[in-house]
């Protein structure tokens, strides 16, 4: 203790000669293989509307809209750490806005899309204002109540939603075909993916993720906690609204029952099963859930003498979630972490030096 006091201290800054560890980079061959695999994946996605067959193509379009909604929910669960059980309503608001603008106002589909995004953002802003006061379990309850309220009341206002019979939402003139529309939905997923990537790698996303961990620390770094929390809700709502508008024109007819509040739980399951906070994980989670019934149907067709039935979808879904979460609390993203890391031009195994590091 006292030796510190003994000598007058020379004022010298310790310019540490150590510099940042070199980032791991794949070899040229490694880069080529990764690019090839990514190209095959992209090719598969591009070909998917043709691979799935004309009868079930709308399953694909619907799956794409679910991916969009799951990504929007991921902004709340994954980035802000707040669970929303209101996403069926978020989506429904977007869908009915689109239907209203197209059928009742007679305006073009593009206008409906913009309106759906706007209304989606506005309702989420209102929920976000509540989220400033309550959080965690209580916020989950508030959003659940909103979902039920929307399903039973809002979506049954006949003048706007057409009531129980529903409302039409015709596709844009340039995408009336099922295949074309499927491509439009896939394009929507790509746009949301890029937007989400920009969010997480720019200051808004970093600020939002920082306040998930600690609002006090975030504030001490000059982050306006209120503004960025609301921004997270607004972005989530806007993207959910987009998903809703795209969903509305898949079957071109929507009814309140399409947005039953239990749908919210499915969206949450998609995100958690895929791995909250992980973009590719959440996308995969949403795809697995979206194609579960389809997959079971195809299995039943392939093995007619086996007791396989698409009505078992909820049971299989539950078993899948249980099975994965029991061993991988981080969902598919945790299970597939080496794959995701490898595909993003990283090493297959995590570098041990990154974990030790400290004494280096």
């Amino acid at each position: 203790m006292t030796d510190v006091l003994a000598e007058p201290i020379p004022i010298v800054i310790h310019q540490a000669p150590v510099h940042r560890r070199e980032r791991w980079r794949p070899s040229r061959a490694g880069r080529f293989v990764r690019m090839a695999v990514l190209a095959v994946l992209a090719g598969f996605v591009v070909a998917s509307p043709h691979l799935i067959g004309a009868i079930r193509i709308n399953v694909l379009s619907t799956a794409a809209t679910s991916v969009i909604v799951a990504l929007s929910l991921n902004i709340l669960i994954g980035y802000t750490g707040q669970v929303s059980l209101g996403h069926s309503a978020f989506v429904g608001m977007g869908a009915f806005t689109a239907g209203f603008v197209i059928s009742t106002l007679g305006m073009p589909w593009e206008a409906a899309l913009v309106a759906a995004v706007g209304v989606g953002a506005a309702q989420a802003l209102a929920i976000g204002l509540v989220a400033l006061r309550v959080r965690g379990l209580y916020l989950a309850l508030v959003t659940l109540v909103y979902a039920v309220f929307a399903e039973r009341v809002l979506f049954n206002i006949e003048a706007i939603t057409g009531g129980g019979g529903g409302i039409e939402a015709t596709r844009p003139g340039w995408a009336t075909g099922d295949v074309t529309y499927a491509y439009l939905c896939i394009l929507g997923v790509a746009a949301v993916w890029i937007f989400d990537w920009r969010l997480t790698s720019s200051k808004a996303g970093r600020a939002i993720e920082a306040l998930r961990d600690s609002e006090r620390v975030a504030a001490s770094w000059g982050i306006n906690v209120t503004a960025f929390k609301l921004l997270a809700f607004v972005l989530s709502g806007a993207i959910a609204g987009l998903g809703g508008a795209l969903f509305a024109s898949v079957e071109q007819l929507i009814a309140p029952l399409d947005f039953a509040f239990l749908g919210s739980v499915t969206f949450v399951m998609m995100a958690i099963f895929g791995g909250v906070g992980s973009r590719p994980g959440v996308v995969l989670g949403a795809l697995v859930f979206s194609f579960l019934a389809y997959g079971l149907e195809r299995l039943a067709e392939a093995f007619p003498d086996q007791p396989i039935n698409a009505s078992a979808t909820p049971l299989v879904a539950a078993l899948l979630v249980l099975g994965v979460l029991l061993y991988f609390p981080g969902g598919l993203a945790q299970l597939l972490r080496p794959v995701f890391r490898w595909l993003s031009f990283g090493p297959w195994k995590s570098l041990p030096s990154q974990l030790v590091g400290e004494e280096a």
Binding site: M1, T2, D3, V4, L5, I9, P10, I11, V12, I13, H14, Q15, A16, V18, H19, R20, R21, R23, I194, F195, R198, L199, S201, S202, K203, A204, G205, R206, A207, E209, A210, D213, S214, R216, V217, A218, A219, S220, W221, G222, I223, N224, V225, L231, L235, G277, Q354, L355, V356, G357, E358, A360
Partner: protein, 258 residues
């Protein structure tokens, strides 16, 4: 000119008088120490200054501006940077990512430019990363840039926290027990860095620390708090010889120091 001025600040939690008529002035480029037993009100005073607590009475000015009613993030914009008693970092981020968020207020591009991928945002992101590495280098932490926080010791985390506070580009740096978890050698090194940094980075520093020899060594001025009151104020030599301080805080070891 005093860059930070606290006058007659009081705050009670229920029946507990956490702060009672606390006044102190911090001048430019000073290093000021706050010492006192646990529960003396040091961290509460920090919280009042940085806006996490609202005093019942009294005024606080930063660079001559009254900050009553300003949120913590607004005070950060006035040039206040702080660390927390328990590590205040984003646990799920790497060291570098923490410093990127910490630079939030210095980032000029608009939130929308970032979201829609404007070229200016990409360009500035590179600058921000450079700056983060520069700050880390200042504290001898650059080699840990890509390390997740989970792999670091408590002492290192506290140092990363100081780096993050520096990354907010403060004029007044407030450190709450920065030495926790550090050994004697690192403690001495950190003292050197602090003394050098205040000139290189033109900083005014307020530091809460239990390590009295460190405080007496680096601080120009020391305030001793006890039961929410300023018990004594003075230069390290005066504090070292002050019998009231010795009795209230330093105990028997005071004899050795005096």
């Amino acid at each position: 000119m005093s860059v930070l001025s606290v006058s007659d600040v009081s705050l009670a939690f229920g029946g507990l008088q956490a702060l009672a008529d606390v006044s102190l002035d911090v001048h430019e480029n000073e290093i000021v120490g706050l010492i006192g037993p646990n529960g003396a009100g040091k961290t509460t005073l920090f919280n009042c200054i940085t806006g996490f607590e609202t005093p019942d009475a009294g005024t606080i000015t930063i660079h001559g501006r009254r900050v009553t009613g300003l949120r913590p993030d607004e005070r950060t914009r006035l040039g206040l940077g702080r660390t927390f008693q328990h590590v205040g970092l984003v646990r799920s981020f790497t060291v570098l990512e923490n410093l990127l968020v910490a630079q939030h207020r210095g980032i000029r591009y608009h939130v929308g430019s970032g979201l829609f991928g404007a070229p200016s945002a990409f360009a500035e992101e590179e600058v921000i990363e450079e700056q983060a590495l520069h700050v880390l280098d200042h504290l001898g932490l650059a080699h840990l840039a890509d390390t997740p926080l989970s792999g670091l010791s408590y002492g290192t985390l506290k140092q990363v926290e100081v780096a993050a506070a520096l990354a907010t580009d403060p004029t007044i740096l407030m450190l709450d027990e920065p030495l926790a978890g550090l050994g004697p050698r690192e403690t001495a090194e950190f003292g050197d860095r602090l003394l050098a940094m205040r000139h290189e980075l033109d900083l005014t520093i307020v530091v809460i620390e239990h390590h009295v020899p460190f405080v007496l060594r680096v601080c120009d001025y020391v305030h001793v708090l006890n039961f929410g009151r300023i018990l004594a104020t003075g230069e390290p030599d005066e504090i070292r010889g002050n019998p009231i301080v010795a009795e209230a805080y330093l105990g028997d070891s005071a004899a050795a120091l005096a």
